[in-house]
């Protein structure tokens, strides 16, 4: 079985799949890839089931050595992936030779990237998922972020036919460092004054330094609670719930959120737009736009249709890449079929 070794872990590298479900009522959050679209595509590119575990890497990427040949794909935010020092393309499946090093030269765009391995990552499922939950200390490798010297097994590169598969860029979500996140209002929008609802939907919100897998705290002109107050009796929190504590600054709750909480939730980000916020970092901006539940569901159906058709769309190889040596220099050459 191919072995991958962590030379340096980067800022926060964890093993994630689509999440752990069925235990929220007992205080165990869902975890899972922050940008689930990128994770699913990374898996499709290498021919895996969509929900297989990948490495989720954050802002500063890790350095990995592959001790055997592997087939990988890197999707999500562009943190500058390089193999043996040469830049490699994202959103494409790559054949990587034994002994190669994958490193990241720095953020060009986004916040989180995903590395898939053909055949998957061989760690045990805990409560139905391989996702790392640092708080419950489960999943991934010993329930923690990866560190220097960690080694794990990944799948054998058995199906080379997928190498070179690439995603047409027009099928990607509208990633941006100033996205508009669509929301369904409520359930506690009646805890805010009408002018605050307007303010919530109209102003540019800035991502603060308190932005992690649990949630993103936003900065902006504070919202005012109505006479119904800034506290509720704790009840359920969903993925994308936007809760607003007393200080009037929204917090968008994400994959490592608690399932219950006591602040009023003004709105909920729709599923298909969660990947957009997962790619934001400190000082990026965002806006909220109100949509109906019907529209949210329609968008989700469209997204699923795209994902379902991807394996067919990308089945054909459209280019080949070669590494050639010219004197002292190594060059990456790409030949496209016209």
């Amino acid at each position: 079985m191919p072995v991958v070794e962590i030379i340096s872990p980067g800022m926060l590298t964890t093993i994630q799949d689509l999440g752990r479900f069925g235990y929220q009522a007992q205080g165990i959050n869902t975890s899972g890839a922050m940008d689930d679209f990128a994770l699913r595509v990374a898996n499709i590119l290498v021919g895996n089931p969509q929900g297989e575990a990948c490495l989720e890497i954050t802002l500063v990427g890790p350095t990995l050595v592959f001790h055997d040949d592997v087939i990988i794909a890197i999707t999500g935010g562009d943190l500058g992936p390089c193999i043996d020092g040469f830049s490699v393309p994202m959103w494409e499946s790559l054949y990587v030779k034994k002994g190669s090093t994958l490193s990241f030269s720095g953020i060009r765009w986004g916040a989180r990237a995903y590395i898939s391995f053909q055949g998957g990552i061989f760690v045990d499922k805990v409560m139905g998922s391989k996702s790392t939950d640092v708080r419950a200390k489960i999943g991934g490798l010993e329930g923690r972020a990866l560190k220097e010297g960690d080694r794990f097994f990944v799948g054998l590169p058995l199906d080379r036919s997928v190498v070179g598969r690439r995603i047409p860029s027009d099928l990607l979500p509208l990633y941006s460092n100033h996205p508009t996140l669509r929301v369904v209002m409520g359930p506690e929008d009646d805890h805010f004054t009408p002018s605050s609802i307007e303010l919530f939907l109209s102003q540019d919100w800035v991502v603060t330094e308190n932005a992690d897998r649990m949630g993103y705290r936003l900065e902006g002109e504070p919202l005012k609670h109505s006479d119904r107050g800034a506290e509720i009796i704790s009840d359920g929190i969903a993925l994308g719930s936007v809760q607003v504590p007393k200080d009037g600054k929204p917090i968008v709750l994400l994959k490592d959120r608690q399932a219950v909480g006591g602040y009023p939730k003004i709105a909920t980000v729709i599923s298909v737009d969660v990947p957009l916020i997962a790619q934001l970092k400190m000082n990026d901006r965002l806006n909220f736009k109100k949509v109906s539940l019907k529209e949210a569901v329609r968008e989700l159906r469209d997204r699923e249709r795209v994902l379902a058709s991807l394996p067919l769309l990308i089945g054909k190889k459209t280019s080949s890449r070669f590494r050639i040596r010219v004197g002292e220099k190594e060059l990456l050459v790409e030949i496209e079929e016209k």
Binding site: G27, S234, I237, A238, S241, A259, I270
Partner: protein, 238 residues
């Protein structure tokens, strides 16, 4: 003034059925009755249920069930909750060593209420507390039924570390920290019972609707049954 129950969408993946706006055994009973009915009904597309004090969160997949159909199905079930006979609740006994380094705030709680530490233990132990819900951290229980004479304000600065098994009082509530975490409750004791153990099936011993009952135990019993390294609460920074 408000019409309950309310059916509140939370984005495109969850629905909230809210029965009222207070913490009471009556509302909790309704939440549990609906939880039971939804579990029994096995509505396609319903993926997970999260009962809380006065609401039930229903996580669903809108690709498998239209939100309107789900709401309709939930309304039908809500109309039947009056007839539900809830199963006999489980009572989980929680052997607890009170005071000393296991419950460093016991003296404070006693002094705060003008009681002796033994009286605090007497008021806290050997009674059934309803588990309204779990959350905050894995296996953390929100219990109802704490004697009014023990209601004690939280620490103004939470401890950096409260070790797993700690039994505390926070305001009107009491409960057990099932995993080590920061925390602001007053710690009066400690149990060796592992409420959360990821390697066990089930990983968490308690469910909403169960009761917990603290049974005083000796330090010897605690130490004989404690598994793993024994760590203690960090000091209070007040």
């Amino acid at each position: 003034m408000m019409d309950y129950p309310k059916y509140l969408p939370m984005g495109d993946r969850a629905f909230l059925v809210r029965f009222g706006d207070e913490i009471s055994e009556e509302l909790s009973r309704k939440v549990r009755a609906l939880t039971l009915l939804v579990e029994r009904e096995r509505i396609p597309g319903v993926e997970e249920l999260v009962p809380t004090y006065r609401s039930l969160m229903i996580c669903y997949n809108p690709l498998k069930i239209d939100p309107e159909d789900l709401e309709r199905a939930l309304k039908t079930l809500v109309s039947e909750i009056g007839d539900v006979k809830l199963p006999e609740p489980k009572v989980i006994e929680v052997p607890t060593v009170y005071g000393g380094r296991y419950g460093p705030d016991l003296e404070f709680v006693a002094k705060y209420h003008g009681l002796r530490p033994e009286e605090v233990i007497e008021l806290h132990a050997n009674r059934n507390y309803l588990v309204y819900m779990l959350g905050f951290t894995p296996g953390f229980t929100f219990l109802g039924g704490l004697d009014e004479r023990l209601h004690t304000p939280r620490l103004s600065t939470p401890r950096k570390k409260v070790p797993a098994g700690s039994v505390g009082i926070g305001g009107k509530q009491t409960g057990v920290y099932a995993v080590s975490s920061p925390g602001g409750w007053r710690l009066i004791g400690r149990t060796y019972l592992k409420i959360y153990d990821p390697d066990r099936d089930p990983p968490i011993l308690v469910k909403a609707g169960d009761y917990m009952r603290f049974i005083p135990c000796s330090e010897e019993e605690f130490l004989a049954n404690w598994k793993g390294e024994l760590d203690f609460a960090s000091p209070v920074e007040e």
